[in-house]
Structure formats: structure tokens, C-alpha cells
Symmetry: D2
């Protein structure tokens, strides 16, 4: 039984606490939150967990084997580093850290200590994204031409990050998981209509080394909520609508064929293929429970979790490159140069 | 009764011919098409129109007062220039020409000859776009933060233009009509998965001098057809779905308020407003009929048509800037520099 | 080449005329309509067709081999009977006649004369309904538990028939085609809110001898247009939405299993099955063209058409039974008694 | 502070318990459930509540002022009667009892004891249904022509009741609340494809004395979940879709006008009105919390709750009449006769 200590009982922390108490191999040993009101709420729901006003204090508890960090992004590195130093396994909310340098240091610390370092890329544990990964991996979709994601709604404006760090991070994590390809360059355009220095709307384009062009549209000021991703492949196309109650993924047997044309170089021979559509049944298991269980399995010696510290680092690299493009007024940023510079 | 001569009886020409014959002030005098098969079809449907194998021949017909040009873009300038030289009024399919220089020359020719020069920006004549323009003009929407358009479907690959010239041109014309603002810079990212040199997918971001950020997503390789535009304003937001049979426009009384906070400069005070939604009844009059009638009214001395040659020129300037950004690998192109250079 | 004479160039006649002129084996020889305005419109579109002010006159034309009847229902019998007497093949708009007795007489006349008698049950020729028939016929759907149809919209109030004769007739024709079962009893409840004696809204329930319970909801006073049918079978379920542009039919691998329970007769053992959904690609061929071609094939000696006079008779019997239940205040009407009485 | 005792901690009980603990004027004093596993779950979530294996025992607890009954329908009467006899206020899950006779007896007992008797008609406390009631009450909708409800999904087959008692009861409660009219007659047609004696699908038509025709379609064997109600009035029409996340109610300014026609009695003059659509912002307050608070207010002397015992009785009368029609093979059952017989 792994003793879990949770830091942060605000917006997302209660969900983590619930999943820990529902999972078989874990025990919610302690909760730390500086707010008295939050601790009170936590105590009502989880009377058997030890409550702490400071996470430093909680890290001293020998019953805490592993730490979940659900605090603002700017505090992730400090808490995670202290926890690893104290010999605790660590699961951090997304994004793992503010900078790729911090993420790299955490990875190194975890490796040295033989500890599990994981980031909560929840979407990667959904039945829908797992199915997409499988459909790509087994060749059903073919070469991936594009990935087009729209992730918009009204609010929630956040204090410390812009809309890219809040919403586009999900798409970066999904791309990291399903494509298995390296980003080549990124272009980011955005606008902050409420706060000049905090983008509430952005468009990101990422070229990958396998030819995929990904585009991500994030917006905190949209009148309607949309969570829709189109994936176009040489063999099939996917529409993934996360707000659909049951048919989240639709696979279309559609596309175009280009036939070689002996008569003329100019003459284009395109034929359209419009076949059946198919909506596979998806696992309805709660994704966050899968995150907790993958964390526990890794702690119990079953290797790296799917959304490991390295996945977290790769996603932060994309966020950094997007920020750089944004601040340059939308000029493309190349990842090779980023690496060379680092 | 204005005698109309139509050049090109291919994909769009038959629609123009039908609208001419349904409009009160015009008479379909002649049709020119090099294809014998097309002329045969034209003759069956419009037995009273004179048929010509060459448009040069048709221009000699004194019964032709005005010419409609529905031929490939690369031929627009030559035919329009000849028609204006022959003293005919001219209505050209979108985009008006291949280059802004050509468009400027046509405008000058029309001005010198006292002739009407018009481009068929059909969307500008729809009940939906007219309603959006009114809602912006009367202050209902407030300051326009963003315009987000998704215009995707499977096919129709075209021989001579890419997806931007085929589809984004509609959004440029709509923006020209509803915003009344000057474009400042444009960024274009795209990919041609079927033909390397012909983009089938593109993302365009345009900054306007009134602060609006427009984004246009066009794609010929999408599994589903989408024609959706979101417009976010400081007072209200609009969702415009052109595929909805009856409620094409939904106006949302939603947004955020930022209240001045006396306590701290860092503390953000945002409140969300979620009010009613309202779908105004729209005119269901056929847009193309409105185009023909505006053309006729202008010929009859009622001033410039809404989608005048100048509108056509402004749209071609945006297409050119988009092409320049695309070929530079996605770097932003500034319109001021374009003008200075010209 | 079969010479076709069309009676009635009002709302539906122009569609029939267009399909005749587009089909290979037929020629639109003549059009009869008492209205001068309609004849004028007909002449413009079909200059080679002979125009007649009276259908009696048209029947004398030896160039007319077959007659299409697109006039009000109350005139169907008289015109069809005269046409058959004149030795012409006959295709009548739905419903074939006002009474089953009339339909039976036309069938007898056609049989005696060796002529084709057909009714235009257009839906039976759509790709969607054909696919449903196939999915039932090959056992994919299993035993048909229910057929639930919603066919509602605003208008079009008709002078001579109620909403059942206008809209439910489509479902009766579809049921006739896909089920291959005999109706046992029918219950009809309705209301006429605009005209007391003309139902604008009705609910019909039909029990079939194979155990299927069909329910049809028709309404001329609905704020939205709906054309949706659910078909529940022991193996699969179908949602057929005729307003969907491309995925009109969705096949769900869903249902319940009842397992025999040895422990107790009262204890119920139900397990739910929720599998994939599948939207087959459908033929997009125009249904009305299929009607004309089936008519021509039958005339050319290829046997009875799919929607034969007998199909028309069976549909009218259901309409009559529905009318009887309606006038009785909603009491069930049994078909056996109807037959016995006849 | 009202001490609440809950009987039944199965499917719905936990929701009641949560709402009691979230409401201000109530205290969850005790929970009774015969199942040890359910009591265990209850104890974990509500450690301060007294647990009882039998409800008889719980009724002896002087700290219990009022009782919530969330047990199978067949047990409602016995428990409620005992609770009222013990001087406790009573809130029963829908439907209030198995028979109208039982409901009448409970009403009499509550009246004699000066106790509150309430039924949990949850829908009546939703923002959507309250808004519909207001739109009808203030004349916005006009005369109510029809109420058409579709309430279908896959499962949940229940042991002791059929689909009418499970699902149509919601519509009966809504009709009771929004119409303020008396049912005149009811027709019920159904089928039980899994169990012959338990309908899994039914169609109910109810005529009301104000001219409204209500139709309710309930089905446990549908491949998709639908919760949609259309309400047609002489002035406006409403579409109420309970599965819509934000725009549950759409009000259409549509209809037909019948103008008196001086020329001819036969000639029908109908004009269609198609105006704006409007989706009012609705209260998002949890309905069940409203139920608990209305119960508490009534106990505290603020008169009868909205869904009083009398409302419960009226709904059971409709269920009984529906059952009678069903067992008669679909013959209409008149409410007047029901009353006369009772």
C-alpha cells in the first residue's frame, strides 16, 4: 500500500484525492494546503488523511511514500525537487514545470534517486486518445497529414499562465503520445483582449519531422465550448469530439487518390473516396484513475509511466518555443536551434 | 433592359445564367464558351441566348451591354480588360484577378470609361453576413476581438489555385465588408499533401488596425464539411454556421468583465456574463440574385456596387500577402511594407 | 423511347418532368395543366413537350405511351382510370387513390390491359431506405421490435388532405417495403388546431403480425423540421436521420440480453451490450430518377415495379384504417375485420 | 435545524443524502438500509449520520423530524404511512404510491397530523421547466396546442415497474405543473420485447380539458439517449432539450395564421410566421437541492410544497389510467368515468 501525500486541495486536488481513495494500491495518507478553508473541506471528505498547513512539514511524514502536486505551475519545481530530495516519488500536475531546464533537473534527480517522476497528462489516459494512438500505430489512419484541434470556451482566466499553458498543453501531450515524431518548428499568434500581457486566444502551428502539420486553436473568450480534433491521414480521417457523450471518435473511410497521369504533367487526376464511417466503442474508465494506477505501477517497479518526466519535459519544450514565437510577433521558431542553443 | 453576355458555362456559369434570367432588369443576350458540350447545355437551358465559341466574338455583339466572367482566374484580367475596352460593364467571379496590379488597372479602365466594375463576392449578399455587418455597425457586438473561421470539406481540388485562393477568399471578402478596418499583417502556414506545390490546407492569421485578430482555417482534405465562424466582441459574441438550415446566426450575450481593482495591481477581477442567446430571422433571398441586381443598379446609375472593383483589389492584396507569408515559411508579412514597396 | 405525358405541373410535376428528361429511355412528350400560368412555366422549361389545357385531350395523343399523374388526390382515380382505358401505362403520385376500392379497380384494369400501374413511393427508392431493407433482410438487425418515426415541420397545410395523408403515407410505404409483414391493428390519435376537421398533428401506432410495433408522429405545426426514424431489433438498432447530409443511417451494435435464470423465475438477468456504431456509405442517386427508371423498366417488360399498384393499395388500406380509428376517438381498428367487411 | 432520516441508500438515496448535507436548514440525522454494504457506503460518506438496518427502528429516533423515502415503489405506502403515524414529515420518491387510493390515504393522514407530505418530482424544480411554466403563465406561448415528449435510452430495466412508471411519470409531473389543466382521456400503446409482461416501450396520448394534446414516447430499448419535448402554442413554440449543456430551451416565434376569407368558405388562407429564435438563460441551481429546500420551507410553516402529496396523487391517477388503457389493448380511458367509479 503506497502512502500518498497530496499538496494542494484547490480546484483539481479533490479529484486526485478521490481517485487515490478509489484505487486499490494506494492510501491517501496526508493532504497539505496553506488555506484553512481548503483543509477543512479536505478533512470532511477524507477524515483519515493527516492534514498539514505546509507541504514542507508533510514531506517529513514517513508514511508518505509518494507526493501528488496540484499547486500553481510556478511552485511545481520547488515542491517536486524537495520531495525527490526527501526520497518521495512525484506526480505533478501539467505542465510539469515552468521551464525545460527545471524539468531536466527533476528528471536527473529522479534518475539518481531511483524514484518515479510523472506528470499528469490526463488526456493520454482517456479511452478516446488511446484508441486514436492504436489506430495510428496499426496503420489504419496511414501517414498523418494534419492534426487540427479546437479547444475553446468561456473562461476560466487564470492568474499565472496564459491560454496556451492552460489549454494547448493538452494537445502537446496528446501529440507527444500519438505521433511519436519530433517537432521541427512552431508558429504562435495570439491576443490578450482582457489583459494585454496574458493571451486569452492563440493559434499554434507545429511542423513535425514526419510531415504532420498540427494546428491548435485555444480561446478563453468563446461563446460556446468546443473540444474537437480532426486528424487527416492518407488512409483514413478521424473526428474526435470530446464533448460527445458516447461517440467521441468517428473514423471516416474518406480521402483522395492521386493517380499518375501519363498524358500530361499538368493534368491532375484526383479521385475522391467516400466510404463508411465507424465509431468504435471506447473504454469509459475514468482517465484520472488510470493516471494514479500507472503512477502506482511504476513505483511498484513496472518501469516508466506513460506520461513520464521526459514526456513532461518534451511538452514544456513546446510551450517554451510557442512563447518565443508569440513574443517575436509570430515568427516561426525552430526546435533544432533551441536544442543547439541549450 | 440590360443585355448580359456570359463568358464561361462550366461549374458556376449556369448559376449566373439562371439568376440573370430570373432578375427583372436584365436579359441573357449571349453565352460564350469554347467547349461545344457546354454550349449545347447552355442552348438547351437558354434557347433565346446567342451562343459563341469565342468571347472575343461575343464582345462585338452590340446587344451585349455588360459581361459576366466565370472562367479560370488566370483569364480574368485579359477578358475583363477587353470587355471594358469594348465599352462593356464587367462583373468578374472571385477573386477579381491574379494580381493586385491587374485589379488596379481594371479599376482605372472602368473609371476612365465610366463603366461599372464589380466582383462576385457572393457571401457579402447573404442574409447572414448582412445581419452580422448590421450587428457590428449598430454596436451590438462592441469592439471586435476576433474572427475565427473554419471552412473545410473534402475536395474540390482545383487546377490553377490553392485552397487559399479557393476558400479563404470568401473570408477576406466578408472581413472587408463587415469590419471596415485595414489589415496590418498576415501570417500563413500551409501544407500540400497531395501536390507539394499546391496547398490543400492552410491557416491564416490577420491583424487589423482596429485590434481584431482574424484567423481562417481552410482545408480541402477534411472528412466533414464545416462552415463556421465565431466572432467575439466586447459586448456580444456571434456563432455563424452557414450549414444550419434555419438558425445560421446565434448571438450570445456572453463575455467577461474586468473590474478595476483598488487593492492590488496584480489581483485580477474578472466576472463572467452568461445571458440569453438569440437567433435572428434572416432574409432567405438568394445571394447571387442580389449580386446581379446590385450590378444592374450600378449600371443604371445608382453608384458603386457593394462588392466593387476596389473591394476586389483589397481582397487580392490579402491573397498576395498570404502567398508571400506562405512562401517565406510562415513569417508575418506587413501590409504597410507592401504598400511602400508598390 | 417511351413517350411520357405528365398531368399536373404544380408543386411536384416539375420534378417529374425534369427526371423524365434526364432519364435515358423516356421522352417528355406532353404536359397537361388547366392553369395557363403553369403551362407557360412548363413551356419555358420543356419547349419540345406538347402542351394541353385538358388531360382528356392529352390522352388522345398517340405519342403518349405512359401517363404520370401529379394532381390532387381526389382526381387520381378518374384520370388513372381514363388513362388505363386509353391503353396508357400509369404512374400516380402518392397516395395512389382516395379509397382502397378505387385502388383495387385500377389494379384490375391494369391487369386486364397488360399495362403497368405504379405509385410514386419515392422514399422506397432512396439509398437510405434500400440500405435499411438490406440490413433487415440479411439478418443484421434481427427481429424488429419497433419502428419509431418522427416526421414534423412547419406547414405545408394542404387543401384536400390531413397530415396523415400527407406525411404518414411515407412511413406506411417504407414499412410496406422493409418489413414484409401484415398490419394487425392501428390506433390513431390527432388534433386539428387550425381547422377543426383537418388534423395537423397525429400519432399512429400499428401492430404487425411479426411482432413489430410501429409508431408514426406527424405534425404540420412543429417549430423545427425533423425526419428521424429509430428501428430497434434484437441484434442491432438503426437511427435514420433523413436531414443528415451524409450519415443518414447509423447502425448501433447495442441491445440487451436476457439470460435464463435457473435460480428464480422472478429474478431478472439482463445484460446490456454497447458496441461500435457504423454509418454505411449510401447511394446518392436521386430517388425520383429511380422511380422513373423502374416505371420504364416495367413498361419494357421487366415485371412489376417495386412500388406497384398493389403496394399503393396496401398503403391506402392503412390510411383508411387510420382514418377510421381517428374518427372513433382513438379506438384500435383491426385489419382482419376490415378485410372481412370488404 | 430539521433532523432528516433517509430510508434507502441504493441508486437515488446517495443524491438525497448529499443534498441534505449541502442544504442550510437540514441535518442528515439517520440513514436506514437493510443492506449491510449500503450502510457501509453510507457511513463512509456521512460519518455523522446514525445508521439503521430497519426503517421501523429509525422512526423511533426522536432526532428524526422528517423522513425521505427512496425505496422501491411497492414499499412507499407502508413506510410513508408509518412515518406519518410516528409524526414525521414525509418526502417520497416518484411516483408517490402504487395506487391513487394509497396516495389519498397518505394525504388524509398528513392533513390530520398537520404534517408535510411531498413527492420528489425533481423536474418541476429545474430551471428549464420553471422557465417553461413562466412562458406559458405569462401568455408568451399562447394556447397550448400540443406537448410532445421523447424520453428514450438504453436501459435501465427495473424489477418492479414498467417504462411508463419509470419514465412517463416525469412528463405527467411536468404537465401537472406547467398546464394547470385537467386530463380528459388517455390512450396507451406499448410492447414488452424482453419481458412479455413488462412494457419496455410505450406511447401515451393525453387529451386535456384546455384542448392540449400531450404525447409521451418512452423506451428502454433505444440506441441513443433522447430527452426532448416540443410544446406548440398559438403564439410561440418551445423546444426543450434536457441533454443540451447550456441552451436547454429554445423559444421560436413561429406559427400559422388563419385569416378569415370573404371570397369562399372552402378556400383556406393560411400564412406562416417564421421569426426569431431565443434561448433564455436558465438557472443552473441543482433541482434536487430545490426539492429539499421546498420540503424544509413547508415544514417550517411556509405552506404546501410545489410537488405536494396532491400533485403526487394526480400523477398516480394518470399512471393508473395509462395502465388501464394499456391492458385494454389501447382503448381510450376517460378520467370522468374513473372519478365517477371511485
Amino acid at each position: 500500500m503506497i502512502g500518498i501525500g497530496l499538496v494542494g486541495y484547490g480546484y483539481w486536488g479533490p479529484n486526485l484525492a478521490r481517485c487515490v481513495s478509489e484505487s486499490d494500491g494506494c492510501r491517501l495518507a496526508a493532504i497539505a494546503d496553506a488555506s484553512e478553508k481548503s483543509r477543512e473541506r479536505a478533512g470532511q471528505r477524507h477524515p483519515s488523511a493527516q492534514l498539514h498547513a505546509s507541504w514542507e512539514e508533510m514531506l517529513k511524514d514517513p508514511g508518505v511514500d509518494a507526493v501528488l502536486i496540484a499547486t500553481p505551475v510556478c511552485t511545481h519545481y520547488e515542491i517536486a525537487a524537495a520531495a525527490l530530495t526527501a526520497g518521495k516519488h512525484v506526480l505533478v500536475e501539467k505542465p510539469i514545470t515552468e521551464t525545460s531546464e527545471q524539468a531536466q533537473r527533476l528528471i536527473d534527480m529522479a534518475n539518481r534517486g531511483g524514484l518515479t517522476l510523472m506528470v499528469d497528462h490526463t488526456f493520454v489516459y482517456t479511452g478516446a486518445v488511446r484508441k486514436i494512438r492504436d489506430l495510428i500505430a496499426d496503420g489504419t489512419v496511414g501517414d498523418i497529414y494534419y492534426y487540427e484541434s479546437t479547444r475553446i470556451n468561456l473562461g476560466l482566466f487564470q492568474g499565472d499562465v496564459n491560454v496556451i499553458w492552460d489549454l494547448a498543453v493538452h494537445d502537446f501531450a496528446i501529440l507527444e503520445f500519438i505521433l511519436g515524431a519530433e517537432p521541427v518548428s512552431i508558429t504562435a499568434v495570439g491576443a490578450g483582449h482582457i489583459h494585454r500581457n496574458q493571451e486569452s486566444l492563440a493559434h499554434l502551428s507545429v511542423h513535425f519531422d514526419n510531415g504532420t502539420l498540427a494546428h491548435i486553436n485555444v480561446n478563453w473568450l468563446a461563446p460556446v465550448k468546443v473540444r474537437q480534433t480532426l486528424i487527416g491521414g492518407s488512409r483514413r480521417m478521424i473526428v474526435y469530439d470530446d464533448l460527445e457523450p458516447s461517440e467521441k471518435i468517428k473514423v471516416y473511410d474518406r480521402g483522395v487518390h492521386l493517380s499518375a497521369d501519363p498524358q500530361s504533367a499538368n493534368d491532375v487526376r484526383i479521385s475522391y473516396r467516400t466510404g463508411d464511417m465507424w465509431a468504435p466503442q471506447l473504454s469509459t474508465r475514468e482517465a484520472l484513475l488510470g493516471v494514479i494506477e500507472d503512477f502506482a505501477a511504476s513505483i511498484n517497479g513496472h518501469g516508466q509511466p506513460t506520461s513520464s518526466g521526459v514526456s513532461g519535459l518534451r511538452v514544456v519544450r513546446m510551450l517554451e518555443a510557442a512563447a518565443q514565437s508569440l513574443s517575436s510577433g509570430g515568427h516561426p521558431v525552430e526546435f533544432a536551434r533551441l536544442k543547439a542553443a541549450s
